[in-house]
């Protein structure tokens, strides 16, 4: 039965995957020495958001579920990490797991009823969810070392930043730490895509009725996707919280959720490479514009044009185009070899 997964597009452990793994190691070792602190931070947050983008891609690319509320789940993961990180001495890696688990609970509570919807209705409901969480984040703020349930410092209390893990105290070390966790989250998603859940999701995306008739428990299968996407997104929130030690409620609004979804479409919702590209588009590309002295709001124009391009000519995003180019090149080389 194992051969089915191997034939699912973009899940085969190919030479490109191995190349990607090799590149990851090379990047982790070499990049911190080559980059300025500004760019190192940009690539760190790119890697963190690549995890959130992978969650969006999992839901949309595999199940056809357009969730516009994922940025709120990043915030939930960040909130849990900050709150427990300030209040306890739990190791950071355990904090990340707790953040992922807690975000799962929230994601499933909100997402499961929403999964009964589809298309535009689902998108609007999840966007409203993002908006509701933005209101809560703005009203309560993120924990900063204070007491009480919200963990907010008041009066003369000193506002604290969350400490990074011992293995990632410097920017360079934290970049490597984030890359490793990102690789683990990608591995977790890839393992599911290559196993029975991935095959079930392929069937559901094609036709939920057909999947049911083939014996797939579609509710359980969707729930698993929701759990996986929520968990990894919560972990991304935890990483983001420790990156600067604080979180700004203004970064978790519905607008950010829509932009997150847009960059996933542009980068490619159907592969993990697309998630990496989406993470770079979301965090590194604005840094590039800023570095070049270009007006920051131009990024929205670029994303808008990119989205039009993706919807009209490249439904599998930049990643799909790159993979198409590689496949075409391999075919040409094969024909030349035959000749």
């Amino acid at each position: 039965m194992g051969t089915i997964a191997a034939r699912l597009p973009r899940t085969r452990p190919s030479a490109a995957t191995l190349l990607g793994a090799g590149l990851l190691v090379a990047v982790a070792l070499a990049l911190p020495a080559l980059l300025s602190p500004f760019w190192l931070r940009a690539f760190t947050t790119s890697a963190i958001f690549a995890i959130a983008c992978a969650g969006v891609g999992l839901l949309y690319g595999r199940l056809g579920v357009a969730s516009l509320g994922q940025i709120a789940l990043v915030g939930v993961g960040g909130w849990i990490t900050l709150r427990l990180g300030h209040a306890t001495s739990v190791p950071f890696l355990v904090l990340l797991l707790i953040a992922g688990g807690g975000t799962c609970v929230i994601g499933v509570l909100v997402g499961l009823p929403a999964l009964r919807l589809s298309g535009l209705n689902l998108a609007i409901v999840t966007l409203m969810f993002a908006a509701a969480f933005a209101v809560v984040f703005n009203a309560t703020g993120f924990p900063d070392g204070g007491d009480g349930f919200l963990g907010r410092a008041t009066g003369s209390e000193q506002r604290l930043a969350l400490e990074r893990p011992a293995l990632g105290e410097s920017d360079a070390a934290y970049f490597r730490y984030v890359l490793i966790v990102t690789a683990l989250m990608f591995g977790l998603i890839a393992a599911h895509l290559r196993a029975r859940p991935g095959r079930q999701w392929a069937a559901i995306r094609q036709s939920e009725v057909g999947a049911l008739a083939a014996g797939v428990d579609t509710t359980r299968s969707k729930l698993l996707a929701l759990v996986l996407a929520s968990f990894t997104t919560g972990v991304a929130g935890g990483l983001l919280a420790a990156n600067a030690g604080v979180l700004d409620p203004g970064n978790f609004g519905p607008q950010e959720s829509v932009i997150l979804f847009a960059v996933v479409l542009i980068g490619g919702a159907f592969s993990l490479l697309g998630a990496v590209l989406a993470g770079l588009l979301l965090e590194a590309f604005p840094s590039l514009l800023s570095d070049l002295g270009v007006e920051g709001n131009l990024i929205f124009v670029v994303f808008g044009l990119g989205l039009i391009h993706a919807i009209s000519t490249a439904p599998e995003g930049i990643a799909g185009q790159l993979q198409g180019l590689l496949a075409g090149r391999r075919r040409r080389e094969g024909h030349e070899g035959d000749a």
Partner: protein, 233 residues
């Protein structure tokens, strides 16, 4: 044996099925009627995709109504659809293997049913298969993993005569080869009369005739409601 008793389905003020009671015997039975008669609605209720307002659906005395569609599939109820449901991104072989994985079959069984329907264990994706091949892949999935009841919803739609004959030959073999009862819905009365030993006829949600194929095809009310002057026997 599939038994439907006093089955009523209501969509607002419309009743696609109105107190339908019918028992389908062993072998291949046909369910026919004009468009909108309620045939697919009856299949939807039997397979769990629609809930009845009243009535009962039993197979060998076991009620199916409390089970979700995927549970009915795992129990042994197989179904094909008017709009075929082959997964485009998977090969024919993997389409059947995926279903085997969910329905309790195995890879060898998947290959055997593909051999039965005569589709080579092709690596071509579902999107690259011909209509006949996609119908045959659906039929292969329908006979996987010891089916008890197979519902075929217009499997002959869009096929040319030679292809329909090939399909008819396969459908005829299912009861003996796999031990399953087959209910066939199709508008191709040559296919229906060629493979079905008994027929039930629906018209505007009501059962208007039931009996052996020859009896039903000679029934005057059936001729008036559905067959017209078509000569089939």
């Amino acid at each position: 044996m599939l038994s439907v008793r006093d089955l009523t389905v209501s969509f607002g003020g419309v009743k696609p099925l109105d107190r339908v009671s019918v028992e389908f015997g062993e072998g291949v039975c046909g369910l026919v009627g004009p468009n909108g008669a309620g045939k697919t609605t009856l299949f939807n209720v039997i397979s769990g995709f629609a809930a009845p307002a009243a009535g009962e659906v039993e197979v060998d005395g076991v009620s199916l109504l409390g089970l979700a569609p995927h549970q009915r599939a795992r129990w042994g109820l197989r179904r094909t659809f008017q709009q075929e449901q082959v997964i485009h991104m998977l090969s024919a072989r993997d389409n059947v293997r995926l279903a085997a994985e969910e329905l309790g079959g195995n890879a060898d069984e998947a290959d055997r049913v593909l051999d039965f329907v005569g589709v080579a264990r092709t690596e071509r994706r579902g999107s690259e298969l011909s209509l006949l091949e996609r119908r045959l892949v659906e039929l292969a999935r329908a006979v996987l993993a010891q089916p008890k009841l197979v519902l075929l919803d217009e499997p002959g739609a869009g096929l040319v005569d030679e292809e329909t004959e090939q399909l008819a030959g396969l459908i005829r073999q299912i009861p003996e080869r796999y031990g399953a009862q087959v209910i066939l819905v199709d508008h191709d009365m040559e296919l229906v009369s060629a493979v079905c030993s008994a027929l039930a006829v629906l018209d505007f949600g009501r059962l208007i005739a039931v009996g052996s194929t020859s009896e039903v095809l000679a029934d005057e009310e059936v001729k008036r409601a559905y067959l017209g002057d078509e000569v089939l026997l």
